[in-house]
């Protein structure tokens, strides 16, 4: 390489020098890649989770409701309606007889309810002189 060439190269170098002095500038542009977003901060994930939890809750409530309804139908005695009684049918006469039977059992004269208390009428400090 000649001296003249060297001088030319130096000139070229001087024009190109700024590019070689800041090599990181290229890297900085490359760092503009999207940041890593945490799993629970993703929009779709949040929506999916909310939907899943809600559906699960709805399902649980549905099952609870089913169980309650079934228990009510099977376990509870029939509910007496308060409708105004229509003209008495044969069935209602029989029902009245049943009610009277219950009443009849309750008025058994041999029951011991309300018998006087068994208190001692002869309580005395000194025995009576006979």
């Amino acid at each position: 390489m000649t001296a003249a060439q060297n001088e030319l190269n130096q000139t070229q170098f001087s024009t190109e020098e700024p590019f070689f002095e800041q090599p990181g500038a290229v890297f900085q542009e490359a760092q503009e890649i999207k940041q890593v977003v945490p799993f629970f901060k993703r929009r779709k994930t949040i929506i999916s989770l909310i939907i899943a939890v809600t559906l699960l809750l709805l399902f649980v409530l549905f099952v609870i409701n089913l169980i309650v309804e079934r228990n009510r139908r099977l376990g509870d005695p029939p509910v007496i309606t308060t409708e105004t009684p229509a003209p008495m049918s044969t069935n209602s006469y029989v029902q009245e007889v049943e009610q009277l039977r219950v009443e009849w059992k309750a008025v058994d004269p041999s029951q011991s309810e309300l018998q006087p208390p068994s208190v001692d009428p002869s309580i005395r400090l000194d025995q009576l002189q006979r």
Partner: protein, 287 residues
């Protein structure tokens, strides 16, 4: 933009959730309301609150009386064996306590009995009023006796209080038994009266629904049998009632034995069951 979409979805889901919860609670409250209504129908308290309070008080007074009676027996035995002034003092105190406890128990018992007598239908009003007056007078006597017993602090006075009660005890028992006999009679009479009311309605129904001539003849025969039984029950109940009225009782002496009176009621009681069986057959209208 994204946040607003998320909020909208969340809001919608919350709305669905809220609606579901409210539906669920509505169905639950309906069940509870029905249960509450059912309770009102089936377990409506027959007794008033006062009666219930008296019943609770009565139980506690009986227990208190039992405790004080045991203490009295112990202290009296000590006094009889030791014959010391201290043992006499303790025996007098124990006697006063048991006399007061007995009066309180009897007062509460008579108040309970008076309440039951008042609300029991089917008792002739004259007889009911006489018994109520007797019970009220007895309660007053017992209250006075309780006050006098509380003031009795020496040997002679507690013995005097004991004698007063002992002399009245037979009458106290008779008054209680009499009221109880009226209650038992009234209860059975009420059931019988209700059965008669039902029989009347069944007859009306059958009259308004005439059947074939053969069936009508069968019905008439059934009515005759029911009528005989009904008259028999009423006759038994009348006899029982008359035994409690001085004006109609045999030789003017009312029934004093509770056991004897109850045996009088056995017959109409068992016949009433038969009467109800007949009514059930008539109600089914198989004639």
């Amino acid at each position: 933009m994204i946040r607003s979409r998320t909020s909208l979805v969340s809001l919608a889901l919350l709305l669905i959730f809220g609606v579901t919860i409210s539906e669920l609670s509505l169905s639950q409250s309906t069940v509870l309301a029905q249960e509450a209504g059912r309770d009102t129908v089936f377990t409506a308290p027959v007794e008033t609150n006062k009666q219930q309070e008296l019943a609770v008080l009565y139980q506690s007074l009986i227990e208190d009386y039992g405790t004080k009676a045991r203490v009295f027996s112990l202290n009296r035995a000590q006094w009889q064996s030791l014959q010391t002034l201290r043992s006499l003092e303790e025996a007098v105190t124990a006697t006063t306590a048991v006399l007061v406890a007995r009066d309180k128990t009897m007062i509460t018992y008579f108040e309970l009995l008076l309440g039951v007598l008042e609300k029991t239908p089917g008792i002739e009003l004259t007889l009911k009023q006489q018994s109520k007056d007797a019970l009220t007078a007895r309660i007053q006597w017992l209250q006075l006796h309780e006050q006098q017993s509380l003031q009795s602090v020496d040997r002679d006075s507690v013995n005097a209080r004991s004698d007063e009660y002992r002399q009245a005890s037979d009458l106290i028992g008779t008054e209680a038994q009499y009221a109880l006999m009226l209650v038992r009679l009234g209860q059975l009479q009420t059931t019988f009266d209700r059965a008669n009311g039902l029989y009347g309605r069944i007859l009306e129904r059958n009259k308004s629904n005439p059947s074939t001539p053969t069936q009508e003849i069968e019905r008439e025969r059934a009515y005759t049998q029911v009528g005989i039984l009904k008259d028999s029950i009423q006759s038994d109940l009348t006899l029982a009632r008359n035994s409690l009225d001085p004006q109609t009782a045999e030789r003017g002496k009312i029934e004093e034995s509770y056991a004897s009176f109850i045996s009088r009621l056995e017959s109409p009681y068992s016949k009433t069951y038969k009467y109800l069986s007949y009514l059930e057959e008539l109600a089914l209208d198989t004639w």
